[in-house]
């Protein structure tokens, strides 16, 4: 769907993007991660043709990205903005018309989304009559109204309460199921884990990591496991002896715990289970993979250490 090849962008002597390449497939949700000032927004603006790169190309469905392709792209910028004295309906008609939609199509799409979010009563309200969260919902609707093939969302969950975050996530998953491609730039790592198929991490203008979420997590596994059991903590710890290291514990009740354990030496998960069976009553056990947040922090920290 989208091929970003060796994009470089400099502002005076500072590199905002340095030889960044990405590839987005049809029907996937791609997470663009990175600390503040890494170059994510610059990359997004290059894709939207807001700014031109110094080097590199962007291809949309095989063709060099041109102005005509922008009607197939939906964009929700991080800095939200709407016309304060225009109504929700007027915004929809304005942005729909900009993207080449007919009035009847706009009306149909608007009806769908207002029903979807259960906000039909907002149709004639002006933006300055809405709260920030409500206005952001309107902006989201304006970004997806024309059913773009590629949807670019910069911090889409920012400003929403947990209920609306879930609502937006559901919508994105449904869009993906319909074959849409979604690029999300976010710091909300939990959402990344939940809905992104692949991610890329940009740090100090360079791409330092890319891959499927599960693959990245598995590649960074550190041999940690969680065990949920019924029994005493003392018995559990005694059973571990020297072959395993207790990292953390969580008390669920008087005699129920979740313990995080790290393997030592050549010990495997099966060895852990062998020592625990009979000592405590195991209810569940699973491998603890590093979260995207941990991966993010580790990758950025390592990079900064190398840089020093």
């Amino acid at each position: 769907m989208l091929e970003i090849q060796q994009i470089t962008k400099r502002y005076q002597r500072k590199a905002a993007l340095d030889d960044v390449s990405l590839s987005l497939k049809t029907g996937e949700i791609f997470g663009l991660l990175g600390p503040n000032g890494a170059g994510k927004t610059t990359l997004i603006r290059v894709i939207n043709r807001i700014i031109e790169p110094d080097h590199g190309t962007v291809r949309f469905k095989g063709d060099l990205l041109k102005q005509k392709h922008l009607i197939h792209i939906g964009y929700l910028p991080e800095e939200r903005g709407l016309y304060k004295n225009m109504t929700v309906e007027a915004h929809a008609f304005f942005f729909g018309a900009l993207r080449g939609m007919t009035k009847s199509d706009i009306k149909q799409a608007l009806d769908y989304w207002l029903n979807r979010f259960d906000i039909q009563s907002w149709r004639k309200k002006r933006i300055d009559e809405l709260s920030k969260g409500m206005a952001q919902k309107v902006q989201f609707i304006c970004a997806v109204l024309h059913e773009p093939e590629l949807l670019i969302l910069d911090e889409p969950f920012s400003g929403f309460d947990p209920v609306n975050v879930e609502l937006i996530k559901q919508e994105l998953v449904e869009m993906k199921a319909k074959g849409k491609t979604i690029l999300i730039s976010t710091h909300n790592m939990r959402s990344v884990e939940e809905i992104c198929d692949r991610v890329a991490l940009i740090h100090q203008s360079k791409k330092i990591m890319e891959g499927r979420v599960s693959e990245l997590q598995e590649s960074a596994r550190v041999g940690e496991y969680a065990v949920k059991f019924r029994g005493t903590m003392i018995a559990f710890v005694n059973a571990l002896w020297t072959g395993f290291e207790l990292i953390d514990k969580e008390i669920l009740g008087d005699d129920r715990f979740v313990a995080r354990v790290k393997m030592r030496g050549d010990n495997q998960f099966e060895d852990l289970l062998k020592v625990l069976i009979g000592t405590v009553k195991i209810e569940a056990a699973w491998e603890v993979l590093p979260s995207m947040q941990e991966l993010f922090i580790n990758a950025v920290s390592v990079k900064e250490e190398i840089g020093k």
């Binding site: 807001i50 700014i51 922008l70 792209i73 800095e79 903005g81 004295n85 304005f94 900009l98």
Partner: protein, 422 residues
């Protein structure tokens, strides 16, 4: 279209489109109503102890003034407070040396309108001329008046003696030019505020992701300009219709030059009236006025749009607005300069310089181009048009590069860098 729809659909536009002309017409009505007779008729007492006027007064068209003569000298206090003269609205004191000192006081109860003052002066003066002519000459009163006419001294171009130029015409042109620049300033500020607002509320990022920044800027300039034209057109229609109605109904005699001439108004005033009603070719001038307004607006509008896009804060905007205002004021000054120095090289320069051309061309149009030199107008228009395109192109670069920059201070170095970036 969004820009145009937002402006003409707004309550303030509709209010100003209607309230503005109503205010202008009301003001016009008040001005002329004050000038008209406050009372339907006046009774004027002429105190003529020496009988100089022989109880006679020149008959006039205005029957609203009734004169009565008294051969006694009346004290002012008596006239003011005495019961005998309460019916009279004013007293004219004809002193015994009026023939030589040409001085006569008029004492009124209520300040008369301008019209009333002119009528009384005119009728008394006509009578005195008749007396003078009879007493000191063998001429009839009419012959005496012909001799009495002030000297006419028109200035003519030695190379084209038939050329009909007029200082007054130049002032009318300057007025047209000033109107152009007032509108350019008002609607230029609208462009600047609109661009700044879109920048500050961040909606511009979505807009430039869909529409080319240059197209966005041009659309804004054209949208605001069209709303200006519509407002101007509505004003012109309502004011013209209102003035026509006033002339036909309320001030039937007031606007008629023939009536004014008969009442003895000044030659200069008559010349002005003749200028307005006869000499200035408003039909062609309105056409060029609209043309130069449109192109001048595009030229200056680009500056306002670029300024709105590059400023990072409101204070920066104000700081950089001052040079732009100075340019506009300079343009107005150039019109005044050309009015007084029409043949200088500097006047020629101002005629072609795009910053000053709209106002200078209006002045020259009103005065009239010399025979065979009308092509200068088209050269000026062409230069202005080319300049407008050039400035729009440069402004487009500044708009594109500056519109998504926030919170910065504008530096000239930065502006030049943005101009170099495509």
């Amino acid at each position: 279209m969004r820009e145009l729809r937002e402006r003409i659909g707004s309550r303030s536009f509709v209010v100003m489109a209607l309230v503005g002309p109503i205010l202008v017409l009301s003001l016009t009505y008040l001005l002329f109503a004050i000038g008209e007779n406050k009372q339907q008729s006046w009774k004027v007492l002429i105190s003529d102890p020496r009988g100089i006027m022989e109880n006679k007064i020149m008959p006039g068209e205005d029957k609203s003034i009734q004169y009565s003569f008294v051969s006694d000298y009346i004290e002012i206090a008596d006239f003011a407070s005495g019961k005998t003269y309460q019916d009279f609205d004013a007293m004219v004191e004809v002193n015994e040396k009026i023939i030589t000192n040409k001085l006569s006081f008029v004492f009124y109860r209520e300040k008369p309108s301008l019209n009333m003052t002119i009528n009384i002066r005119y009728q008394i003066e006509r009578r005195l001329e008749e007396i003078l002519a009879a007493k000191f000459t063998k001429l009839s009163a009419n012959d005496f008046r012909k001799i009495k006419q002030p000297l006419q001294m028109p200035f003519k171009n030695a190379y084209d003696p038939t050329e009909q130029s007029s200082d007054l015409a130049g002032w009318v042109g300057l007025f047209f030019g000033a109107v152009i620049f007032v509108f350019i300033f008002l609607f230029g500020m609208t462009i600047l505020r609109s661009v700044s607002r879109e920048k500050s509320n961040r909606i511009v990022e979505i807009l430039v992701a869909t529409v080319h920044p240059r197209a966005l800027m041009l659309g804004k300039i054209i949208g605001v300009g069209l709303s200006a034209f519509i407002q101007f057109f509505v004003w012109a229609v309502i004011i013209s219709f209102g003035l026509y109605l006033m002339r036909e109904t309320v001030f039937v005699n007031g606007y008629d030059p023939a009536n004014l001439a008969q009442n003895g108004t000044s030659v200069a005033y008559n010349e002005f009236v003749e200028l307005i009603f006869e000499r200035i070719q408003f039909s062609s001038m309105i056409g060029y006025f609209l043309l130069f307004f449109a192109v001048g607006y595009l030229f200056y509008g680009a500056f306002f749009a670029a300024l709105g896009a590059v400023t990072g804060s409101e204070s920066d905007g104000q700081q950089f607005l001052l040079p732009l205002i100075a340019l506009l004021l300079f343009a107005l000054y150039s019109g005044y300069y050309v009015l007084n120095n029409p043949e200088t090289q500097l006047a020629q320069l101002y005629h072609y310089l795009p910053f000053t051309a709209p106002v200078v061309v209006m002045v020259k149009l009103a005065v009239g181009y010399p025979e065979g030199e009308g092509y200068q107008l088209f050269i000026s228009l062409l230069i202005l048009l080319v300049s407008a395109f050039a400035v729009l192109s440069l402004a487009g670069r500044l708009y594109k590069n500056g519109i998504l920059q926030f919170g910065h201070s504008v530096r000239l170095k930065q502006l030049f860098q943005w101009l170099k970036m495509k």
